[in-house]
């Protein structure tokens, strides 16, 4: 039986999507009987467009695009989790730990992604949930991937980022001062997921199941064969320092960011929607944002069950 071809578009080539690379490099997709072609968009909007335009079957990025799409009458369904924690950290030159001391952000310049992207939303929400006003800390927005530049150039005090940037700037003398995943109010969190359209999932239930199965296997593998997973990550980023990659993967694991089970839980969905609602890009109470209406857990549950 010839393997069925499945096209996945990832928003970035990112350590956040390690389960994808593990599934590919360890042959899990192959063993599941699918031939996966991976393309890269330069951002979530592009990836999701690839699915809408029919040039990809799945996309991998922030799942908030599904309720946005639905709110505007578009299609979309969340199929499986890729990142299940808000794997975002704050780094700064000053190593004073701020985990329980958020008030110390006062009057600091903090670099985030542009509004309304995730790190901007995270930080804004963090400030608001602590009842600080808008100008408590000065937010400095820069394009995705560039957040560390102002920090290292001394143009800001703190920066929010994801791996492997965090581990990279650590070697440049910066310190992690805050972890969002370590905050019990934030975990779990539907941070990245495998997304598709209802129509595709319905018509290609078999392929979908196989892909999800492979991802489930990969997610487990990361926890059971961490050393091998680290090697996959190092191969995926040959130009990064090997030690940095290892540290980055370990930090992700510590934050339980790679899901042990690829099912997107209701809690993790609600947490994600709360932030998106705060930003104003969706209404968390609208039907179009509901857990049931957006997340298809059937494949993930099958995959988890099968693995047991």
């Amino acid at each position: 039986e010839a393997a069925k071809t499945v096209r996945i578009n990832q928003a970035f080539q990112s350590l956040l999507y390690l389960p994808l690379y593990v599934a590919r490099d360890k042959g899990f997709f192959e063993e599941a009987g699918v031939d996966v072609k991976i393309t890269t968009g330069g951002g979530a909007a592009q990836s999701w467009s690839a699915v809408l335009g029919g040039s990809a079957d799945f996309s991998i990025h922030d799942p908030v695009f599904i309720p946005i799409s639905k709110a505007k009458g578009g299609p979309g369904v969340v199929v499986a989790a890729i990142q299940d924690a808000p794997a975002v950290w704050v780094v700064g030159k000053d190593s004073t730990d701020l985990q329980d001391n958020v008030a110390l952000f006062k009057d600091k310049i903090v670099t985030t992604m542009p509004e309304p992207d995730s790190t901007w939303a995270f930080f804004s929400y963090l400030m608001q949930s602590n009842n600080f006003d808008k100008d408590y800390a000065k937010i400095n927005q820069v394009g995705v991937g560039n957040e560390m530049a102002p920090l290292l150039a001394g143009r800001s005090d703190y920066a929010l980022g994801t791996e492997p940037q965090i581990s990279q700037v650590e070697t440049e003398g910066m310190s992690v001062v805050y972890s969002f995943s370590a905050d019990p109010d934030w975990y779990p969190f539907a941070f990245s997921a495998l997304l598709s359209t209802e129509a595709y999932v319905k018509d290609h239930a078999d392929e979908t199941q196989r892909v999800v199965n492979a991802l489930q296997r990969a997610s487990e593998y990361i926890y059971t064969n961490t050393d091998d997973a680290v090697k996959v990550a190092q191969d995926a980023f040959p130009d990064l320092d090997k030690a940095v990659v290892e540290k980055a993967v370990q930090r992700e694991l510590a934050a339980k960011a790679y899901p042990k089970e690829v099912t997107v839980s209701e809690k993790s969905w609600e947490n994600a929607m709360r932030i998106a609602d705060f930003v104003g890009i969706i209404d968390k109470d609208a039907d179009t944002s509901s857990y049931a209406g957006n997340v298809n857990t059937e494949f993930a549950k099958n995959a988890v069950g099968q693995a047991d």
Binding site: S69, G145, A149
Partner: protein, 278 residues
Amino acid sequence: MSAQSQTSQGDVEARRTSSSLAGMSPARETLLVWGLQAVILAACLILWEVAARQGWISTFLFASPSRIFDVLTRQFASGQLFNDVKVTTMETVLGFIVGGVGGSIIGLALWYSPLVARLTRPFIAAVGSIPVLAVAPLIIIWFGTDITSKVVIVAFSCVVVSLMSSYSGAQQVDQDEINLMRSFGATRNQIFLKVVVPSSMTWVISGLKLNIGFALIGAIVGEYISSESGVGHSILVGSANFAIDTVLAGLLVVMILVTCFNAIVRVLERWILPWKYA
């Protein structure tokens, strides 16, 4: 351009004829053109709106004129539109002056030294092929995230076109006109100011015209790299939300800005090249 030093009888007449429509007066002609342009524009918009309303195209993916209009109305009411336009215009104009005008001056000045021109040519071309996005981190490190960085990006987006275009112009200068100046014992500076510069003006202006678009693209890209406001910021927000109507509203604003800048440069051109419009 020395092309004109050749023109004589029949030239002005023929030029007039070739651009005039059935012997209309220039003023009526302009009105006619504007009218037709308005009709074309309106026709496209109506077709688009109808297609959207009838469901021939998905408004989710392609928006519709009325939805774009709604977005603009909302942005106008909140004052965001005015502020965005102000910020982007400021960045564009400053960067255009630095890069476009500066590049033109450098390009013309390369006339002084064919050696320097030849030496730097490949480097200039190479630098001109750098996508700003790829060096975003370096730009932020060097120029920060405030208006300076946008001005730098706009200037960078303009400088190569203006430089190469004006340099081409300076290369086209009629050697005989230079010989004429030399026969008067003119210094190199005099030759430059009195022959090379005016004779290259058509090229310089053609470069500047091209750069209007690039300057705005530069400003938008700059706002992609870092921003709190501006038309590019608004487009970015729309794009991150998958709000195509917001994106297209931003693009519409950009196009209107370009049209205005173009009109301004056109007026400047008539003022700088009176002999072309005598």
